[in-house]
C-alpha cells in the first residue's frame, strides 16, 4: 500500500487533529502571563447587571495594558458550554471589565481568556459570582429526575439503533431477495425485454447546463451585491469601547458606526464613583453602576442604580450617600436609571417599579407618584424623566414606545407615541432620555431610531436631530443657549449639536467608557459614566462652539 492510496485517510486525520487542537491552546504556552480575577459585584434583587473584572499581568508581574481578553459564561443546561459574554480591553493597570446582564439566578462560572501575543503567552482564569436578581419573571426549570435522566439516553439510543437496524435489514433483505429471485429466473427468460423502446426527451445535458448557469451566476452575483442589500445594516456586535452593554442594538435609522469628530472640550473635574479594593472587589462605600446625575442647588446628586441610593459629592471629591433604600421597600431606588431636578427636589423614575419618587436635596423621600396610565403591551419601563416649570412630569415608557405627560398626582394628561415601535414623527422605538429646553419644548431620545426628537409643550412634532451621528443614544441635555448634548452608549461619547440642530462633534472620546445620564448647568456638562465615574466638561461660552 503506497502513500498515494493512503493520502485521503491521512488528510482526514490531519484535518481532524487540526480541528481537535482548536481551543486547546489556552494556558499551554510558556508560563508567566497571569490573569487575576477581581471580585465581581454580586447581583441583588432588582439589579440589572454586574461587572466582571480581571487583571492581566505579564511574566514580570507588571500590568499588561491594551490587550484584549474574552469573557465567557459557563452554561450547564445541556452539558457544559462556554457562552461568549464579550471582549474587553485591559487598561493601564491591566484591568479589563465587562458589564454583564445575568439571565439566570444562582451561581455563575466565568472563564476569561487571553489569547496571547508575540511577547506574552496565552492564559485563562476562572471565577464565580452569584446572581440573586433581578427576579426573573420566568423561572428557569430545575432539572430533576436524575435517575431517569441517566438512563434515558440509553433507552432512546437503543430505540434508535433498533430503527436503523430495521431499516438496514429491510433494504439489504429486499435488494438481496429481489436479486436472488431474478437470478433464479435468468435461465428461463431474458432480462429486460425491450418492446418498442420509447425515446425520452434529452434531459441530462440540459440539467447540467442549468446547474452550471446557477453556479456561474450565483457566485459572482453574491460577491457583487453590496452589504446593505440585506436590509438596514444591523451590527450583531455588542462591543462599546471595550465594554459589552448587552441588550439593545440600533435599528431603523440608527447608525451603527456613527462618524466621530472629536471636540477639544476641557475636562473641568471628575469623580471616581466605583472604587475597587486591592482584590478588585468594590469597596463598601463605592457606587455600583450609577446611571444618572442631577443638580439641585449646589449639590451634585448621583443615582446609584444597583445599590438603590442617591449619593452626593463632597467638596473633597468624595461620594457620600444622602438616601439609601432597600430593594424590597416601597420607595426603593433599585433599578432606577433616570432623574430630573425641579424646585430643589429631584424626581427619580424607577424603571423596575414603574414609579416616580420625589426626594428633596437633603435626601428625604417626600412622595411616591404612581403613574395612572393605560396598560401597554409590555410592563411600564420608565427610562427618562423631565419636569416642566409647572411641575408636570414627562416620562418615557421605553417598553411601550411612548412618552407621557402626567400631572403632579400622576394622572395622564397626554401621550406621544403609538405604543408600538415606530419611526414616524409621532412614534418612537424605545424612547429613553428626556430634557426640556429654555422654551419649554420637550426633547426625546428615540433610542433605536438613533434620533433626538423635539416636541412643543402640547406634543406637536417640531423636528429631529442626530441622523447619521447617533449610534445608540441614551440621554439628552440642553444648555441655556439651546445647544443639545446626547450621550451615546455605542460610541462611548457625548455628541454635541448646535441650537439649529447641526452636528458639532463629540466630547469625551477616549475618556468615557459607558456614558449614560447627562445634565448641563452653569457652563458645565455633567456626564454620568456607569463605569468610569462622573465627569464635568467645561463648555465654551461662545454659542457657536460647544
Amino acid at each position: 500500500m503506497t502513500i498515494r492510496t493512503l493520502w485521503p485517510l491521512l488528510a482526514v486525520v490531519a484535518v481532524a487533529l487540526w480541528l481537535r487542537s482548536d481551543g486547546a491552546a489556552f494556558g499551554d504556552g510558556p508560563a508567566g502571563t497571569v490573569l487575576e480575577p477581581l471580585e465581581s459585584s454580586t447581583i441583588g434583587t432588582d439589579r440589572q447587571s454586574t461587572i466582571l473584572s480581571v487583571r492581566l499581568l505579564n511574566d514580570q508581574d507588571q500590568p499588561l495594558g491594551g490587550a484584549t481578553v474574552t469573557f465567557y459564561m459557563l452554561t450547564t443546561v445541556f452539558g457544559e458550554r462556554l457562552m461568549k459574554a464579550g471582549d474587553a480591553f485591559t487598561d493601564a493597570t491591566g484591568t479589563a471589565s465587562l458589564i454583564y446582564e445575568p439571565t439566570w439566578v444562582g451561581d455563575h462560572t466565568v472563564v476569561v481568556r487571553f489569547p496571547g501575543d508575540a511577547q506574552n503567552a496565552s492564559t485563562q482564569t476562572t471565577f464565580q459570582f452569584a446572581a440573586s436578581g433581578p427576579v426573573p419573571v420566568h423561572e428557569n426549570a430545575r432539572f430533576g429526575l436524575e435517575e431517569v435522566r441517566r438512563w434515558l439516553p440509553f433507552a432512546v439510543g437503543a430505540a434508535l439503533l433498533a430503527v436503523w437496524t430495521t431499516l438496514g435489514l429491510v433494504i439489504v433483505t429486499t435488494v438481496r431477495g429481489l436479486r436472488a429471485a431474478t437470478a433464479a429466473l435468468e435461465p428461463q427468460m431474458p432480462l429486460a425485454p425491450v418492446i418498442e423502446p420509447l425515446r425520452p426527451v434529452p434531459f441530462g445535458r440540459t440539467l447540467l447546463a442549468l446547474l452550471a448557469l446557477l453556479a456561474l451566476v450565483a457566485l459572482p452575483g453574491a460577491w457583487l451585491l453590496p452589504r446593505q442589500w440585506g436590509g438596514e445594516e444591523v451590527s450583531l456586535s455588542t462591543e462599546s469601547g471595550g465594554l459589552t452593554l448587552g441588550g439593545l442594538e440600533p435599528q431603523g435609522g440608527a447608525t451603527a458606526d456613527a462618524p466621530q469628530k472629536p471636540l477639544a472640550v476641557p475636562l473641568d473635574r471628575s469623580v471616581q464613583t466605583m472604587v475597587f479594593g486591592e482584590g478588585g472587589q468594590l469597596v463598601p462605600g463605592s457606587a455600583d453602576l450609577p446611571a444618572d446625575v442631577a443638580l439641585v442647588n449646589d449639590r451634585v446628586l448621583i443615582l446609584d442604580t444597583n445599590k438603590g441610593r442617591i449619593l452626593t459629592v463632597t467638596p473633597a471629591g468624595e461620594i457620600v450617600p444622602v438616601l439609601e433604600t432597600e430593594a424590597a421597600q416601597e420607595g426603593s431606588l433599585s433599578g432606577a436609571t433616570a432623574m430630573a431636578a425641579h424646585e430643589e427636589k429631584v424626581y427619580v423614575a424607577n424603571s423596575t417599579s414603574g414609579r416616580v419618587l420625589v426626594v428633596d436635596a437633603s435626601g428625604r423621600l417626600e412622595e411616591i407618584i404612581i403613574p395612572l396610565v393605560p396598560k401597554g403591551l409590555n410592563p411600564l419601563t420608565l427610562a427618562g424623566i423631565a419636569v416642566t416649570d409647572r411641575g408636570e412630569i414627562w416620562l418615557s415608557d421605553s417598553g411601550n414606545h411612548r412618552v407621557m405627560l402626567l400631572d403632579r398626582r400622576g394622572e395622564l394628561r397626554s401621550v406621544i407615541g403609538e405604543g408600538i415601535p415606530s419611526a414616524g414623527e409621532q412614534g418612537f422605538n424605545a424612547p429613553a432620555g428626556l430634557a426640556i429646553d429654555r422654551l419649554g419644548n420637550l426633547l426625546v431620545v428615540d433610542r433605536l431610531n438613533g434620533l433626538v426628537k423635539q416636541y412643543s409643550p402640547l406634543g406637536v412634532f417640531l423636528g429631529a436631530l442626530g441622523e447619521g451621528h447617533l449610534a445608540l443614544p441614551r440621554s439628552v441635555a440642553v444648555d441655556e443657549t439651546g445647544r443639545v448634548y446626547v450621550s451615546d452608549e455605542k460610541s462611548a461619547t457625548v455628541a454635541a449639536f448646535g441650537a439649529d440642530g447641526t452636528y458639532r462633534g463629540s466630547i469625551g472620546q477616549g475618556t468615557l467608557q459607558a456614558p449614560y445620564g447627562i445634565k448641563v448647568k452653569d457652563g458645565l456638562l455633567y456626564v454620568m459614566d456607569r463605569l468610569a465615574g462622573l465627569f464635568a466638561f467645561r463648555l465654551q461660552a461662545d454659542e457657536s462652539v460647544p
Binding site: L19, T173, A181, L198, G221, W223, W229, L236, G399
Partner: protein
C-alpha cells in the same frame, strides 16, 4: 374497470401517463423550470451574500435569533411529515384510492425534508463550525435530538420512496431501453435490482414496504415531537406548553395534507392526469383536511384558553400582542384564512370540488406558515426581564431564501419526475385487477 382507474381508462394506459413527464414534458415544463430556477438562483445568491457578510445581513438580532429560518424549518419538515403520513396510513389501511397519489406524496415528503433540513444550517452564522455538533454534541440537547431524528427520518423517507419505485424503475428500464442514454440506463439498471415482477419478488417487496410504512409513522411523529420539544423545553413565553408535541404533530399533518392536495392538483393539471386523479380523490383528501382543521382548531383553542385564563406575567403580553396588538392582523388572518375559510369551502357541497378544495389547501398552507412564524418569533421577542420588546423584521436575504425554498420543492419534484414515473404504475396496475364490487363504491361520473 376498477376503483382506481377511471371507467374510460384501460390499465395499460397507466404506463403512458406515468411516463408522460419523461417522454413528453411539454414546453410549459421548461418555462416553469426556468421560473422556479430563477427564484432558487436568487435564494442561492442571497445565501452566498449571507455567507460572506454573516447574519448581520438578516433581520435576526440578539434576542430574536430564530426568525424566518427556523419558522421555515418547522414548516417544511411539517409538510414532509404530512406527505409521508398520508401515504403510510393509506398504505397500511390498504385504501385503494391512494394509488395515483402515493408517488407524489412520498416524493414531496423527501424533497420537503431536504429543504427543511437545510434551514438549521442556513440559520448558523458560521456553518463551517457544524463539526462542533459532531465533536462536542451533548445527548441532553434537543438540538442533537433534532439532528438525529431528522437524519433517521430522512433515511426512512428515502427507503419509503425507493421501495415502491423499484417495479416502476424496471418499467423505465424495459420500456425506454437503449434510447434512455447511458447514464440513465445504468441508473435504471442499478436501481431496479433485477425486478421482473414475479410473485416471489412481489412478496419480498410488499413485506419491505409494509415494514417501512409501519416504521415511518412513529418516526415522523418523533421528528415533529422533537421539533416541538426544541421549543417546549425552552423557557420562553408561549412555548412553555405540555401539549406542544401533539400540537406540532397535528399541525404538521394538517399542512402536509394541504400540500399533498396542492401538489397533486398542480401535477394533475400540468401532465393531464385527470383520468387517473379524479374529483373523489380530492374529496377523500378534503375530508382528512377537514378533520385535521377541526382538530387543530381544538388544540389551538385549548392552548390559548388555558394560557389566557391564567394570564401569567409573561404570557399576558404575548397573547395581547397576538390577539389585539401589533401581530393581531397576522393572527386573525391565520384564524380566518387558515381555519375558517377551509372549513367553509369543504363543508358545502357547492364548493367541495377541485377548485374549492385547492383554494382551501392553499389557504391552509399559507395560514400554517404564518402560524409557525407566530409561534417562533413573538416568543423570542417578548423580554423575560423588564426591557423593550425586540422587533424582528426579515431582511431581503431571508425573504429571498424563503421564496427559493418554496420554489425548490416543486422544482425538485419536476426534475425527479423527469427521470422516474410520476404515478405508481405498480400499485395502479395492481389495483386495476381488484374485483368489480370495489368499483361500485366509487362514483361513476366525473363531477368536475
Amino acid at each position: 374497470m376498477s376503483a382506481v382507474l377511471s371507467p374510460h381508462v384501460e390499465a395499460g394506459d397507466v404506463r403512458e401517463a406515468a411516463l408522460r413527464p419523461i417522454l413528453r414534458p411539454g414546453s410549459l415544463f421548461w418555462v416553469t423550470v426556468a421560473v422556479l430556477g430563477l427564484i432558487v438562483l436568487a435564494g442561492m445568491v442571497a445565501y452566498l451574500h449571507q455567507l460572506r457578510f454573516g447574519l448581520a445581513v438578516t433581520g435576526l438580532n440578539q434576542r430574536v435569533s430564530w426568525g424566518f429560518y427556523i419558522s421555515n424549518m418547522v414548516f417544511f419538515i411539517g409538510i414532509s411529515y404530512g406527505g409521508a403520513m398520508t401515504s403510510a396510513i393509506l398504505r397500511l389501511t390498504n385504501a385503494p384510492w391512494r394509488a395515483p397519489l402515493s408517488r407524489m406524496a412520498e416524493t414531496m415528503a423527501v424533497v420537503a425534508l431536504m429543504v427543511g433540513g437545510l434551514f438549521p444550517i442556513i440559520d448558523l452564522g458560521r456553518p463551517d463550525r457544524m463539526y462542533n455538533l459532531l465533536l462536542h454534541g451533548q445527548v441532553g440537547s434537543p438540538v442533537v435530538w433534532d439532528v438525529v431524528a431528522i437524519t433517521t427520518y430522512m433515511a426512512a423517507g428515502l427507503l419509503f420512496l425507493y421501495l415502491p419505485l423499484i417495479p416502476d424503475i424496471a418499467v423505465c428500464r424495459d420500456r425506454l431501453g437503449p434510447a434512455a442514454g447511458g447514464l440513465r440506463r445504468a441508473l435504471y439498471q442499478l436501481l431496479s435490482v433485477g425486478w421482473q415482477g414475479t410473485s416471489q419478488q412481489r412478496h419480498i417487496l410488499e413485506r419491505g414496504i409494509t415494514v417501512v410504512a409501519i416504521i415511518i409513522i412513529p418516526l415522523a411523529v418523533s421528528v415533529h415531537s422533537v421539533l416541538a420539544w426544541l421549543f417546549g423545553v425552552t423557557s420562553r413565553p408561549g412555548w412553555d406548553s405540555t401539549i406542544f408535541a401533539p400540537y406540532f404533530v397535528l399541525g404538521a399533518m394538517f399542512s402536509g395534507v394541504a400540500t399533498v392536495i396542492l401538489i397533486v392538483a398542480a401535477f394533475r393539471k400540468a401532465y393531464h392526469l385527470e383520468a387517473y386523479i379524479r374529483q373523489e380523490h380530492f374529496q377523500y383528501l378534503s375530508y382528512i383536511l377537514l378533520a385535521l382543521t377541526l382538530a387543530y382548531s381544538y388544540f389551538m383553542f385549548s392552548e390559548y384558553l388555558t394560557v389566557g385564563y391564567k394570564m401569567h406575567e409573561t404570557d399576558g403580553p404575548l397573547l395581547q400582542l397576538l390577539m389585539t396588538g401589533r401581530l393581531a392582523p397576522f393572527f386573525w388572518l391565520f384564524v380566518v384564512g387558515g381555519l375558517v375559510l377551509p372549513v367553509l369551502l369543504i363543508a358545502f357541497p357547492q364548493t367541495r370540488n377541485i377548485p374549492g378544495i385547492t383554494i382551501a389547501s392553499l389557504a391552509v398552507l399559507l395560514g400554517m406558515w404564518l402560524k409557525r412564524f407566530l409561534i417562533v418569533v413573538p416568543g423570542l421577542a417578548e423580554p423575560l426581564m423588564p426591557s423593550e420588546l425586540t422587533i424582528y423584521w426579515p431582511s431581503r436575504v431571508e425573504v429571498a431564501i424563503t421564496l427559493a425554498a418554496a420554489a425548490a420543492i416543486p422544482l425538485m419534484m419536476m426534475l425527479f419526475f423527469r427521470v422516474f414515473p410520476i404515478l405508481s404504475i405498480y400499485e395502479m396496475e395492481e389495483f386495476a385487477e381488484v374485483p368489480a364490487e370495489h368499483a361500485s363504491e366509487t362514483p361513476d361520473a366525473e363531477a368536475e
